[in-house]
């Protein structure tokens, strides 16, 4: 049995402590130059990971961040916990009523900003497979993944940009938020489907089983589950200790949801995400409790996850310029065109439509989580992973200035 020895524990706690403190410092430095927090965390990962620190001091690097053994297993456990919790908090903010409320423009924008990038991304892999590196038997899964990677948006980065531009509560701001929520929801549903497809490609029965299970679990949680949560939350928030009670119950259900979907052949992230939607939709979840859950996950577990991104691969040796440019070009053109088209059809002016397109172009943390999971299951290679991370960071950085330009 693999067990953490005394020396392993010292390494484990030291590396976690150093990562958390440095991640915070890098995040704060990044904030000073208007970079998303996640950018600072990934930069730290690249510096401390095999790209720089690992190359310069390989012995020290492998001592504190070993590639195998008990410490590595423990670190992997933490990043798995982190990704499940990140999806839970992403789900907390998926409020589909915002799309319903915003009406025609939001529905058009949501739909086209998802479907056009998805279809173009899918078509790029399907018709030009030579541009990408994948095993032929996984063509469908790879094409579905790439379509999803082109379609997903990053709600946290987008809301921050809208807040900085002071257009959060305007019509344009709400349309962007509504579309980002829709893109997140459909993106994660499709990605869960892709992960479930791995290893069973072409088996139609399994495909329909997977689709049925995803929809069945989603509908059950959003109708019956939400009803039970609405009954349970007021009791938890008044009878149990505050805020500890609600924090432990919410996260407890997040992990149970993750365990359930994993056990029925879907990925754990789906259970956590849908559980997040069900809890987040409840009016009984106090804003303060919601904020505490976010604080806990985004400041403790998220930094460890995003720093670990930089540990996964060597960003210099796996930097493939043509691939990076292809991914960047496809991601930006598909998303900006798709979102702007929806906005224009929904009644916005050309400039407003383009501003919506640039707003939704920010991929941020969601794209990186998506890429990381795909790399873990062996769907994509390190070069594609690096290209996706670079695309996510660049699109997040240029969205704000471009939006400002078109709104002015």
């Amino acid at each position: 049995m693999i067990k953490l020895l005394h020396s392993d524990l010292i390494v484990f706690f030291t590396s976690i402590g150093v990562l958390l403190i440095l991640a915070r410092l890098f995040a704060e430095l990044g904030k000073k130059i208007k970079m998303p927090v996640v950018m600072g965390e990934i930069m730290l990962g690249i510096i401390l990971g095999p790209t720089i620190f690992g190359s310069l001091c390989p012995d020290l690097f492998s001592h504190y961040f070993p590639k195998e053994g008990a410490v590595k297993i423990a670190m992997d456990g933490i990043t798995n916990l982190a990704v499940v919790m990140l999806l839970f908090v992403a789900g907390l903010e998926v409020q589909l009523q915002i799309i319903l409320k915003q009406g025609k423009t939001a529905i058009y924008t949501s739909f086209t900003s998802m479907i056009i990038p998805f279809m173009l991304g899918f078509a790029a892999v399907w018709f030009f497979p030579n541009m990408f590196n994948f095993t032929p038997d996984r063509k469908l899964a790879y094409a579905l993944f790439f379509g999803t990677a082109m379609a997903v948006s990053a709600l946290p980065v987008i809301t921050r940009i809208l807040m900085d531009l002071n257009i959060f509560k305007t019509k344009i701001g709400m349309i962007i938020i509504a579309a980002a929520i829709f893109d997140d929801l459909t993106g994660w549903l499709v990605f869960s489907f892709v992960l479930s497809l791995m290893g069973q490609e072409g088996e139609i029965t399994n495909i329909w089983y997977t689709i049925g299970m995803i929809l069945g679990f989603g509908l059950f949680m959003l109708i019956i589950g939400k009803y039970l949560i609405n009954k349970m939350l007021p009791w938890i928030q008044t009878k149990l200790s505050w805020p500890g009670g609600v924090l432990s119950i919410c996260l407890g259900f997040c992990f149970l949801g993750a365990a359930f979907t994993e056990s029925i052949g879907l990925h754990a992230i789906l259970g956590a995400f849908i559980m997040g939607i069900a809890f987040g939709d409840s009016v009984h979840l106090h804003e303060k409790a919601r904020e505490i859950i976010h604080q806990f996950v985004t400041n403790v577990f998220a930094p460890l996850f995003f720093v670990a991104i930089g540990f996964k691969v060597n960003f210099i040796t796996n930097f493939d310029l043509p691939l990076v440019l292809i991914v960047l070009f496809l991601a930006m053109v598909c998303k900006i065109f798709g979102a702007a088209l929806g906005g224009y059809l929904g009644g916005l002016t050309r400039r407003e439509s383009l501003a919506v397109g640039f707003g939704l172009n920010a991929r941020g943390a969601m794209e990186i989580i998506l890429g990381s999971l795909a790399l873990n299951v062996g769907l994509i290679d390190s070069k594609m992973f690096v290209a996706l991370v670079i695309m996510a960071l660049l699109t997040s950085m240029i969205s704000g200035p471009l939006m400002r330009r078109f709104l002015n």
């Binding site: 995040a27 904030k31 903010e93 319903l100 959003l222 009016v283 804003e287 604080q295 985004t298 998220a302």
Partner: protein
């Protein structure tokens, strides 16, 4: 059907008040409320029953009208067969009804909530104002605490003015206009990128902005001698005002009619008026502003 008369009709005064008569145990209480309101507002009363016209029902209704001393020149009864919701809505349009009064349960069971009761379905679709009475009373019970939704919407001025019109008839001296502040994804946005002073500043600016918007709306209202109190509450639209009305033990909550066609999805992903309809905090008046719609 000539709808031109309907489209140009203002939200108030209420000249024709209709009541859906269901011959339930609450029939006398609902009719009493309708009679008192029509007397106060000097409106004509239209009683609508969707179902068979039997001599027994006619007798019950005649006896009730006598008991409640409803002037026979000021009311009409329409008997009609058909699907209740669509027939009532059609009759309201045909008769240019300004206000439809319905008895409604405070809360329905989960199945009925998703399927929709007659009262809820009419509330979602009606092209006239609707008054939902949760606890109709035979005895006089005039409203004292009136709460109005001050949501940012062109219809809101008409809704506040309608609440003021009713308040004037009932000699209510003060009404409260409530604006809800809710910023989606705010918790997520400020979780890792904002310092404590930044958070407080942001929250304060959101409240101030909402308060300023509300003051601007109230300035344009026909207040006369009625005092309007402003209140900003944080929470999801519809739910926050519902909760506030319940806490304040309001007698009447006045809200805008919906701008969109509501369906099952709006009940699954509840928002705005659906929160109010899901659990009525008190009597609810849904004001339909035809002028804005035209």
């Amino acid at each position: 059907m000539d709808l031109s008369k309907l489209k140009s009709r203002p939200a108030y005064p209420f000249e024709t008040i209709a009541v859906a008569v269901s011959f339930s145990p609450r029939i006398e209480a609902v009719l009493s409320e309708a009679k008192r309101l029509s007397d106060k507002l000097n409106a004509n009363l239209l009683l609508m029953h969707i179902g068979d016209k039997t001599s027994q029902k006619e007798t019950i209704l005649e006896n009730l009208m006598k008991k409640l001393a409803i002037n026979e020149h000021k009311y009409r009864v329409i008997w009609m067969d058909g699907e209740p919701v669509e027939t009532i809505l059609k009759l309201c349009k045909l008769n240019i009804v300004d206000l439809l009064i319905l008895g409604a349960l405070k809360k329905e069971n989960i199945l009925k909530y998703y399927l929709g009761s007659v009262a809820r379905k009419i509330s979602r679709k009606a092209k006239c104002s609707v008054l939902l009475l949760t606890e109709p009373s035979i005895e006089s019970n005039q409203p004292h605490k009136i709460i109005v939704n001050g949501v940012e919407n062109p219809k809101t001025i008409n809704t506040i003015n309608t609440a003021l019109y009713i308040s004037k008839q009932y000699k209510v001296k003060e009404i409260t206009v409530v604006k809800e502040t809710h910023v989606p994804a705010l918790a997520m946005t400020i979780a890792d990128e904002s310092t404590a002073p930044e958070k407080s500043k942001l929250r304060k600016s959101l409240t101030e902005e909402a308060s300023q918007q509300l003051i601007e709306v109230i300035k344009k209202c026909e207040k006369e001698n009625i005092k309007i109190k402003e209140k900003i509450v944080a929470g999801k639209p519809g739910y926050a005002i519902s909760k506030y009305s319940r806490e304040k033990k309001a007698d009447l909550l006045v809200v805008n009619s919906t701008d969109i066609h509501l369906n099952l999805l709006d009940r699954i992903f509840t928002h705005d008026i659906e929160y109010v309809l899901a659990d009525l905090p008190c009597n609810v008046l849904i004001v339909h502003s035809r002028v804005q719609e035209a």
